[in-house]
């Protein structure tokens, strides 16, 4: 328990080991800082989705809640299109790692191809999500008709917004690379982007499972959570 040890130090006593004096390189430190900040940011996002989830689970037990899958006429009993979207996001996550690898190897064409692939798959994911919204609307599952619908639109919407935010940062990164970023800098930025993409991919998988569960599953979860 490193933290506990740190917190038990008596700072008024002379340090047993005078702290090291060699400073890490500026670049390394910057990367480390960005990584720390990203960790905290992911924690913030986790709390957002966690709280949404808790309110959602509580709401699944209200009398007017109609789960979106289970019966044949419900939209996500057959969730093929969502699987397809998941695949896009997975491919985007994979291609962004490849881009980082290629950046380390400094092969420009491979970088360009993999970055394009990432952008493409991410946009496909978002347009796929929009398509699902349209389908829901067309088949009469409006946002206000049922709390399950409200939550579907709300949660996928918030998730999509996070992806869009990621895309903006990603674009800026490409933009900077175009002008003056070194391969090494690009790689370290892409590493963080990749982490963000993976994280959002897992959030998406979680939401996918959550939103397409049927009424019985919710009942079990609610029972376990004690709602």
């Amino acid at each position: 328990m490193h933290i506990l040890k740190t917190l038990r130090v008596k700072p008024w006593l002379p340090a047993e080991l005078e702290p090291q004096t060699n400073l890490p390189s500026a670049l390394l430190n910057k990367e480390k800082s960005a990584s720390t900040a990203l960790q905290f940011f992911l924690a913030v996002i986790t709390v957002v989705f966690l709280l949404f989830t808790i309110t959602f689970l509580q709401r699944t037990q209200s009398f007017d809640f109609q789960a979106l899958s289970g019966e044949p006429w419900l939209p996500f009993t057959n969730a093929n299109i969502l699987w397809q979207n998941s695949a896009y996001l997975l491919l985007a996550s994979i291609s962004i790692i490849l881009a980082k690898k290629f950046a380390e190897q400094q092969s420009l064409y491979a970088i360009i191809i993999s970055l394009t692939a990432t952008t493409l798959f991410t946009l496909l994911f978002i347009s796929g999500q929009v398509q699902v919204w349209q389908q829901l609307n067309q088949s009469g599952f409006y946002i206000t008709t049922n709390p399950a619908n409200s939550y579907y639109f709300l949660l996928t919407g918030v998730h999509a917004l996070h992806i869009v935010g990621g895309v903006l940062v990603f674009m800026r990164c490409i933009w900077l690379f175009y002008f003056n970023l070194s391969y090494q800098q690009l790689a370290s930025r892409l590493k963080l982007c990749a982490r963000y993409w993976h994280y959002l991919f897992f959030i998406w998988l979680f939401l996918f499972c959550l939103l397409t569960s049927d009424a019985d599953t919710f009942k079990t979860i609610a029972l376990i959570c004690g709602f």
């Binding site: 917190l7 500026a26 800082s33 900040a37 905290f40 913030v44 309110t55 709401r59 206000t144």
Partner: protein, 593 residues
């Protein structure tokens, strides 16, 4: 978070490329010191608006129906805006955006925040949120009058003033504020974790930084709850979903909602709201610890306990939220749990009070203006904390909740106390900003007016609560159980409140006058040990440290170390450079016991 050992930062010289234009220096500045001042000025300006609003509320309460510009709608709007501005746009922004920004890099020996651009963005986003908030005064229907807790359903139904544009602007402004805070907050924690100078271990940091650090983490994890509830309420209002809205009437008309839970909102709100109390309190705890230690010329007593207490309070603050909801109709069995956690949190808080007292004990107390405010803080905080202990004790809350007792309690603990610290901090660090002292005479006048005045407001207010006078009432009218003398008490409170408000004008004048004409302070006027006073250039310039960032050799509390010549040893003085008293020169390190 895993690697908490001392990590040094590169000496980023490229940062000291100085901006030369006025715009670059003061408007689009990425220098943490300028951003801090921008944050502070904005926060204080909007805080003055809230102060005026509270004055108007007091006029109505003290002299009902005497002032024609206050009707029941505007009264509720004043209540709401006063509360929201004070808690979020003033206290949170000033303590973290202002003091956090100014002090973090200086105290840890960094040249700036690790993400200066993000820092600048954070300020401008904050300014945008303030603008959106203030703009709600101008829209038709005015700002929302839903109370600062914004409880649905009433917050978005037509029986409440500002239920159309007002509430939406409020929620929008909060969402923008949260974005601003997240940008700033990520910066603060990362800077503290990654940019500390050589030798600055976490346990060598001044308590100010510990307070700001833990408060920022609380903010990062708690504000999402407010964001979530704001988004869901906007959906309910604009799109017509039923997250918080059950089947319901509004002024006799049936609405199209069903199944939502208003209590759910309260849980979300207070899951944010209670940590928010500590987001304000912890930086204040930290800063007051440093002020007390420096002006009593004594090390902080029980530094480790103080750090542990800050962490414990921060952790516990996430499991006490429902003590705001004892009479909300939630599952009554929750009462047992939340009463217990609430009273447990009193223990680390009490330890902090003891340690402040024990720091003063056998100290050498200079009764400077910052010290006066710090002593005032200990007094008001003890008072407010103890009444909180009563309210937290679930059954006592039954008669007292929603009465003026609650109002008096949280103003004492969350209004007066942090503001005492803010003033202590402003008087203490003003020389660092300007190289000049604030005027001492005006400062003392300001202290006595504020300290005695606020006590005259809030002590009697508790007794209105005992009587059973409810809060958020525009007028009490004639009632059987409230004697008429209560009205004269209310009038007295109002007079005190007006006086306190006017005394703040003296403070503003003092700040403006002293910035240009104040007595020159010279370098490190309080003879403090912490790094912010040890910069090469004084007041610190762009890049903070000149050519070389400092090397830290000790904790921040080496005051009155026995056998040492001076009564303080700055953190960056190497052991070999410490001057000992002549006759005991041959002693080894005197601190080894």
């Amino acid at each position: 978070m895993t690697k908490m050992e001392n990590v040094a930062i590169a000496d980023q010289v490229d940062h000291s490329s100085h901006p030369s234009t006025f715009m670059g220096k003061y408007i689009w500045s990425q220098d943490h010191k300028v951003i801090a001042i921008q944050y502070s000025i904005t926060a204080i300006a909007v805080g003055l608006v809230a102060l005026v609003l509270s004055g108007m509320m007091r006029l109505q309460l003290g002299f009902p129906n005497e002032f024609s510009f206050i009707d029941p709608s505007s009264y509720l709007q004043f209540v709401t805006m006063h509360g929201m501005i004070m808690v979020i746009y003033l206290l949170t922004a000033l303590l973290l955006g202002g003091f956090g920004n100014y002090l973090i890099p200086l105290m840890i020996g960094a040249r700036d925040m690790v993400f200066p651009y993000l820092n600048m963005l954070s300020y401008w986003t904050y300014l945008l949120s303030v603008t959106v908030l203030i703009s709600s005064f101008l829209v038709s229907g005015g700002p929302t009058g839903a109370g600062w807790t914004l409880y649905p359903p009433q917050a978005i139904l037509s029986g409440t003033p500002g239920a159309d544009a007002g509430i939406l602007l409020m929620l929008l402004s909060l969402a923008i504020f949260i974005v601003a805070f997240t940008m700033g907050g990520l910066n603060y924690v990362t800077t503290i974790l990654q940019a500390r100078t050589n030798g600055m271990t976490l346990m060598r940091m001044p308590l100010t930084l510990w307070g700001i650090f833990v408060a920022t983490i609380l903010g990062l994890l708690a504000f999402p709850a407010l964001l979530v509830s704001a988004i869901m309420m906007i959906f309910d209002k604009v799109i017509g979903t039923s997250f918080f809205m059950p089947a319901i009437l509004s002024l006799g008309e049936t609405l199209d909602h069903s199944g939502g839970s208003p209590i759910l909102f309260q849980h979300l709100f207070w899951f944010f709201g209670h940590p928010e109390v500590y987001i304000v309190a912890l930086p204040a705890f930290g800063m007051v610890s440093d002020v007390i230690s420096i002006h009593a010329r004594k090390n902080i007593f029980g530094y480790r306990m103080m750090v542990w207490a800050i962490i414990a309070i921060g952790g516990l603050s996430f499991v006490v939220w429902a003590h705001h909801m004892y009479v909300s109709g939630m599952n009554p069995y929750f009462g047992f749990f939340f009463a217990t956690t609430t009273l447990i949190i009193a223990i680390p808080t009490a330890l902090k009070v003891y340690n402040w007292l024990l720091t003063l004990w056998r100290g050498n107390i200079h009764l400077t203006v910052p010290m006066l405010f710090a002593i005032g803080f200990i007094f008001t905080f003890t008072h407010g904390g103890l009444t909180g202990l009563m309210l937290g004790n679930v059954v006592i809350d039954l008669p007292l909740s929603d009465t003026f007792f609650v109002v008096a309690h949280f103003h004492m603990v969350m209004g007066v106390s942090p503001i005492m610290v803010l003033f202590a901090a402003i008087y203490h660090w003003f020389p660092l900003l300007t190289g000049r002292f604030l005027n001492n005479k005006l400062g003392k006048f300001h202290f006595w007016g504020t300290f005695l005045g606020t006590y005259a407001i809030y002590l009697p207010m508790h007794y209105l609560g005992f009587l059973g006078v409810p809060r958020r009432y525009y007028a009490m009218g004639d009632t059987d159980f409230i004697p008429e003398s209560a009205q004269s008490l209310n009038a007295g409170i109002t007079v005190s409140a007006i006086i306190v408000g006017l005394v703040q004008v003296v403070f503003i004048i003092n700040v403006i006058w002293s910035t240009f004409k104040g007595k020159k302070s010279g370098r490190n006027p309080w003879q403090a040990t912490s790094l912010e006073w040890q910069t090469a250039q004084f007041p610190p310039g762009h890049g903070n440290w000149g050519k070389k960032i400092p090397q830290v050799h000790r904790w921040a509390y080496d005051y009155s170390v026995p056998n040492v010549k001076d009564d303080f040893i700055p953190q960056n003085v190497a052991p070999k450079d410490v001057e000992y008293l002549a006759d005991e020169k041959n002693n080894n390190n005197p601190r080894e016991k």
